[in-house]
């Protein structure tokens, strides 16, 4: 039954193309934004693991 429902969808082949475009856009935008950001934006966060008193 499930199979019939899905195979009834018209032009299902555009779905992969569509999602590829969506993801590619997401990926490119993310890369763009990250590259645009300044390095010291994250200084504080990247030191989170170093806090604590478990030095030997």
């Amino acid at each position: 039954m499930y199979k019939e429902v899905i195979s009834g969808i018209k032009d299902i082949s555009v779905y992969p193309v569509f999602s590829f475009i969506v993801f590619f856009a997401f990926f490119s935008l993310m890369t763009f934004w990250v590259l645009k950001s300044k390095k010291n934006d994250f200084d504080e966060i990247s030191k989170i693991p170093l806090s604590g008193n478990d030095e030997q």
């Binding site: 499930y2 199979k3 899905i6 195979s7 299902i12 082949s13 779905y15 992969p16 999602s19 969506v22 993801f23 997401f26 990926f27 993310m30 890369t31 934004w33 990250v34 590259l35 950001s37 300044k38 390095k39 934006d41 994250f42 200084d43 966060i45 990247s46 030191k47 989170i48 693991p49 170093l50 604590g52 008193n53 478990d54 030095e55 030997q56």
Partner: protein, 708 residues
């Protein structure tokens, strides 16, 4: 701002550390044993300990027991500290711990008995599958509970990797384990043939991605900066690394099925995404290694850093090799050979193993508040294990190439130079011996670690509850300056979870849904009929014995394969295969067109002792099948289960299935009697012969009926 006092739970970390080491040793021992079984088939002396049954035990133990517990150890340690909070609930931690160990024990108690679902790395039967899902959800609740009550606003990059792991493994496990129970310890995959293969490798590949890689990357992002005492090289790179990795990985599964009967578009999709994966993977490797910039001198006298450096390098090697292996031309060579075995062991021994060892050497002295017992011994472990990896992988690469080129060598007259598969096996037996030696070195190293860590633990005292203090999170967050956009999501774990889930679901669904439209993607073949009851029982024996660990049932459309095995495989041939049994490795020849190749008596003798029919064969003997009666009480429920799954047996067929079964069995035993072999028709060997003789004969002399 008042400081809140609380304790980190180190006991749960210690417990996970103990089982990581313990199961790790067991898994490696089993690995060494099965590595020896290949060159010395005499070691298959007992039915429960044949290669086909133990190999799943080895893979499951390494993945879920060694790496799984190692992951939990690292997560429980780092999560508490990154969030400045004790784990959400000690009770949930304990349920998680004991539940997971129970699952491992039940795996060890079922796999040697041939209780298996017959899908690689997902062999465990349905009751255990349910237990895995429950325990995993408990782990997830415990983790999210901790995140909710955290005292650190921002979620450090390691935690995103943990979140993605929890979410994705749950989805993968549930989708791939959809099975219809036949009895308490037997089930059939609800998917058949091509769909089952696609779901399985979507799972299988992402088990590598989200069980062996993402959690360990999270651990890398915590423990490497910790061990060198400086922040990660580039936090911005880690953002790209994370999102790109989880986004790309979920699509890459079909590269395990190149040149198979999987529809071409799915194969191409898998290749494209696999090749793109090299970017985030290497981004991650570079990020890890460059964290050591300016501190490389510390690697000299710091054993955990040695392990980390080799682990990250192995990660880089494996993730360079992976995309290359996804290219069709490259894959044609590597698939079915020992090259793949070498590849996964670079990942397993190098990346997962060494990162785990490094973390153990770093962590145990700290939670026991004492220096490591012997740095020298740890250094010895490092070198012997590195040597072990080399002795393991180099012979396997060599064996892979050798065998592939022997498979495809033709003489000037255009016939196969090595028509007998066995010749190509005998050639690489020395390589198998060297590989086992490599495994022995690696295991030796691990044993010295056990001694070292135990001595360390005894010289100190476990700080069960480590005191800490941190200010509570203020309810309202006021941003001091306009921060980076990504910091928005770093404060919002639930949104992070949803976004990760959406990312992997879209990738997963787009890949899977179209394949479920059988009608357009799988041309049906009119002559392909369901298995007879006897063949079905025989097939279940095939699954039980783990024959798929050494034999494929998938002939690729290459001349050297069709020449050797016969017509290449068509998607429509597998529509009644619950589960599919395409296999992924040819230690023995492909069996898809085995039907009718040899007389029944050949199979009988070959099962009793393979070396009487094929001198030099390394296959385990299955004489027990001649002794054992076939359990025909399961026939009717099996037929009914198959009917539920859509296999077109006539209505009410379950009632007469056993009569048909006996009729066919009598024919086979009568035929065997003609060759002077006296065997009762109710023995298991009759069923397996019936199944093997059926393999691939349906389409002989028939044509595809096309897309209808």
């Amino acid at each position: 701002m008042t400081l809140e006092k609380f304790n980190y739970d180190n006991k749960i970390v210690r417990n996970f550390a103990v089982v990581t080491v313990m199961w790790g040793i067991v898994a490696m021992l089993v690995g060494l044993f099965i590595a020896l079984q290949i060159p010395f088939p005499g070691l298959n002396f007992e039915q429960h300990f044949t290669f086909g049954r133990l190999r799943p035990l080895h893979t499951n133990a390494i993945i879920f027991a060694f790496v799984g517990n190692g992951m939990f150890m690292g997560i429980y340690y780092s999560l508490q500290r990154l969030l400045k909070a004790r784990m959400f609930s000690d009770t949930l931690s304990r349920i998680h711990f004991w539940g997971w160990q129970l699952i491992i024990v039940s795996a060890a108690l079922t796999l040697p008995f041939g209780i298996t679902a017959g899908k690689e790395y997902a062999e465990l039967e349905w009751p255990i599958d349910i237990a895995i899902a429950i325990v995993w959800v408990i782990f997830g609740i415990n983790m999210f509970g901790t995140i909710i009550k955290r005292r650190e606003r921002h979620l450090y990059v390691a935690i995103w990797f943990y979140i993605a792991t929890v979410v994705t493994v749950a989805v993968l496990h549930i989708v791939n384990s959809m099975e219809l129970p036949v009895s308490f310890l037997k089930s059939y995959s609800v998917y058949a043939g091509v769909q089952d293969a696609l779901v399985q490798w979507w799972y299988g590949h992402n088990a590598v991605a989200f069980f062996l890689t993402t959690p360990y990357l999270g651990l890398m992002y915590y423990f490497v900066p910790k061990a060198v005492n400086r922040p990660i090289y580039s936090y911005r790179l880690s953002i790209i690394h994370f999102w790109a990795l989880i986004f790309l990985y979920i699509w890459a599964g079909p590269h395990h099925l190149l040149y198979t009967a999987l529809p071409d578009w799915a194969q191409s999709l898998g290749v494209v995404f696999s090749v793109m994966l090299i970017a985030p993977s290497w981004g991650g490797m570079i990020n890890g290694l460059l964290t050591l910039r300016g501190a490389w001198d510390r690697v000299r006298d710091n054993v955990e850093l040695k392990f980390f450096v080799v682990a990250i390098t192995a990660y880089g090697m494996a993730t360079f090799e992976g995309p290359m292996l996804s290219l069709k031309s490259q894959n044609a060579i590597a698939h079915y050979t020992d090259w793949i075995i070498a590849h996964v062991h670079i990942g397993g021994m190098g990346w997962n193993g060494f990162l785990t060892f490094g973390i153990l050497y770093w962590l145990i002295p700290r939670i026991y508040n004492t220096p490591l017992f012997s740095k020298k011994l740890a250094g010895f472990h490092f070198w012997i294990a590195t040597l072990g990896i080399m002795f393991y992988t180099i012979p396997m690469y060599f064996a892979g190439f050798t065998q592939h080129f022997m498979w495809k060598e033709f003489t000037e007259d255009g016939v196969l130079r090595y028509p007998n598969f066995l010749e190509t096996v005998v050639q690489i037996v020395p390589m198998y011996k060297l590989r086992a030696f490599g495994g022995l070195l690696y295991l030796t190293g691990a044993l010295t670690m056990v001694y070292n860590l135990v001595k360390t633990a005894y010289s100190g005292k476990l700080i069960e509850n480590e005191p800490a203090e941190a200010p509570a999170l203020e309810k309202v967050y006021v941003e001091e300056h306009k921060g980076h956009w990504h910091r928005w999501i770093e404060r919002r774990p639930i949104q992070m979870l949803m976004l990760s889930l959406i990312l992997i679901l879209i990738g997963g669904l787009v890949e899977l849904i179209p394949t479920f439209m059988i009608k357009s993607n799988i041309p049906t073949i009119a002559s392909v009929k369901p298995y007879t009851p006897l063949e079905l029982q025989g097939r279940d024996i095939y699954v039980r014995e783990g024959c798929y660990t050494c034999h494929s049932q998938m002939i690729r459309p290459f001349r050297f394969e069709t020449e050797r095995y016969g017509e290449y495989s068509k998607p429509g041939e597998f529509v009644y295969d619950h589960p599919f049994q395409w296999g992924s490795k040819r230690t023995g020849p492909d069996l898809q067109r085995e039907g009718g190749k040899y007389p029944n008596s050949w199979h009988y003798n070959h099962m009793e002792d393979p070396r009487t029919m094929s001198p030099g064969s390394i296959m385990p003997p299955y004489a027990a099948m001649i002794e054992n009666d076939l359990d025909t009480s399961s026939t009717a429920p099996k037929i009914r289960a198959m009917q539920t799954l859509g296999v077109p047996y006539p209505a009410g067929y379950d009632a007469q299935a056993n009569a048909d079964l006996m009729k066919q069995a009598n024919l086979i035993s009568a035929d065997l009697a003609k060759d002077g072999i006296k065997v009762m028709s109710n023995k298991e060997v009759i069923a397996i012969i019936a199944y093997l003789q059926r393999l691939g004969i349906d389409i002989k002399g028939e044509k595809l009926t096309g897309n209808k």
